[in-house]
Symmetry: C2
DNA sequence: CGGTAACAGGAAAGCGCTTACCTCAAGGTT
DNA sequence: AACCTTGAGGTAAGCGCTTTCCTGTTACCG
């Protein structure tokens, strides 16, 4: 374990130059240097397999090169899409991306903000909806404010903020679109498989659905699940069992919609289903899922762009990303399926 | 931009103590300190919103706390699963995970190895199959060796290595399983939708398939795609058009299998399909996909465990993860579908 | 031919933190 | 009473790198 790592000083010694010269050559500084020395230094670097210590560089230069990303769970396809967008533009800007999984635990979120802060990242992108509990939110805002005080930039996806730039998917409008679609098809008894009640995404999408229902003088039968496929299946099974009158259900994300499809197959019922997010899987299930599309990759890209671009003035920017209904085969007019 | 960040010295000054004391209190060192001072320092920390500079800490302590992960693409469900496993155990060990997307470009892989090396990560996990071009591989081994020389640990997933610990999914056996399954069902004309020819995963799975074919004195019609759903669909369409005699196809991953299903639907044909990896989507498509399961999350977990555990001796460990055939509805005996 | 501008390279001062070592007092020992 | 612990805190030496300022050469000028 007591391995000596080659340092700049080693390289310099070996090449018979000062560390200053070695550093300049290695970093391709503008200072002119003879080819002779350059060659010697480069040779020493190769021989010693020298790799500069990034921490020491950060410290000496005190510039920030990485960006941090907070997501609920990268392996969740929803966040995977967003992350893809984030990565794309971060890499294009030559930034290293540090991804932190919060697993929907506010405490972990706070912890990671500090950790990224400590690592002097240039910016933090917070993806995933906020929490309705204002305790957690204010604590979070506090931490984010502290980070911004040090010159760090923050962009949030899907939660409002009056201090940081935000990219806001049209969750409410999307919910409305989904509801409107079902009611226009003539459905009157509509069930909803919602996400965790504490998340703003759930609240927003639900609000849109309720607005559509109100416009048609209907009410909704809402049941809460956890945004996972299996959770959706269980919730759908319960919903179908207790409410035989339902003819359509809206799931607040595609994973749960897929679960609902499975539940329907199991109990031999056939309701219209509308999903949310239009994830890749939507077109590959049977029936192909009608879904409210949110351009997730774009969401990620825009957020990272905002995070990496200093704001024109000090007022935070907010960018709305519209939702769009993608009609497929899982929804049909009321009188008789198919 | 010229923001002054609070430093330890600021905290110390404000609390009227030396930086040594402040440091000890903040890090909960074992040195005893009066409650009086402790309170003053903690108060100063809170007031100044002090967050220690992680780079300076790394430098001073010269201990490594992060681990790096190289994957082709986190948003690919295959790697998302693996990454989930990696994250789980890394987090359990209190390690920060830095994820790097190589997008299947060997050059980027090299670059990232150096970058992680520079960041003094404790370990690097390389996920994703290797390349058959030995140029890239030797260069890569070089870089990895350099990293290991400095005391860093490396674990690779899915590629052989005689220098580092490796976790090896049973790709060849899996291919054999898939082939055996189809031939036992009586299929004689079997097509294969393979991945990029340059990847060892492709080569290994294909080898297993060929072994099964040979055992039954059959040959395979192989076409190469890119492991994506759309690539699989296109490849399948071409394959079906050119080879009307085929009655079954093996896709070297589930994404392409799903694409193949779509292609079949489009051109109204109905062959048996076997996929690979048993990703979550497999059970939700119609017909539910028969697939060779590789416990991806486990793969990730074991790799991270190896990476975080110093090897008992200096000989690299290799761990095999068995494959298992999951029979569903997409494969049936030859005489007549369904 | 003295003077100076341009060049090549080195010395050393940090960057923010940790920690080995030292100091000073107060209490305990014979 | 002289001596030694022990406790509580400070001093300062780095960790590996960048960069400002300096120094010693050489080349060019009038």
């Amino acid at each position: 374990m007591g391995v000596r790592v080659a340092t700049l000083a080693d390289v310099a010694r070996r090449a018979g130059v000062s560390t200053a010269t070695a550093s300049r050559i290695i970093n391709g500084s503008s200072k002119p240097v003879t080819d002779e020395l350059r060659a010697r230094v480069l040779a020493a670097v190769a021989e010693l397999r020298y790799v500069p210590n990034a921490h020491a560089q950060m410290l000496a230069r005190s510039n920030r090169n990485a960006v941090g990303v907070l997501v609920h769970d990268v392996s969740d396809p929803y966040f995977a899409e967003i992350t893809r967008g984030l990565q794309r533009v971060a890499t294009a800007h030559g930034r290293l991306v540090i991804i932190c999984n919060t697993f929907r635990e506010p405490a972990r979120e706070l912890e990671y903000i500090d950790l990224l802060h400590a690592h002097q990242v240039a910016a933090i992108v917070v993806a995933g909806s906020g929490y309705l509990s204002s305790d957690d939110e204010t604590e979070l805002h506090d931490r984010m404010a502290a980070f911004e005080t040090t010159g760090g930039r923050i962009a949030v996806i899907g939660r409002h903020s009056h201090t940081s730039d935000a990219v806001l998917p049209a969750n409410e409008e999307g919910g409305f679109l989904a509801g409107e679609h079902l009611f226009e098809l003539g459905h009157t008894a509509v069930g909803v498989i919602a996400g965790p009640a504490a998340l703003t995404t759930t609240a927003d999408r639900l609000a849109g659905l309720h607005r559509a229902a109100a416009a048609h003088s209907r009410t909704l039968t809402v049941v809460h699940a956890d945004f996972t496929r299996d959770g959706g299946e269980a919730a759908a099974a319960a919903l179908l069992a207790e409410h035989p009158e339902l003819t359509a259900v809206a799931a607040l994300n595609d994973s749960m919609a897929v679960g609902a499809l499975a539940a329907m197959r199991t109990c031999g019922r056939n309701l219209s289903v509308v999903g949310f997010d239009d994830m890749p899987i939507a077109r590959d299930v049977t029936p192909a899922l009608t879904s409210v599309r949110l351009p997730l990759t774009r969401l990620g890209e825009r957020a990272m762009e905002l995070a990496l671009t200093p704001p024109p003035d000090s007022t935070p920017r907010a960018e709305h990303i519209p939702a769009e209904l993608i009609r497929r085969e899982s929804t049909w007019p009321l009188p008789g399926p198919r």
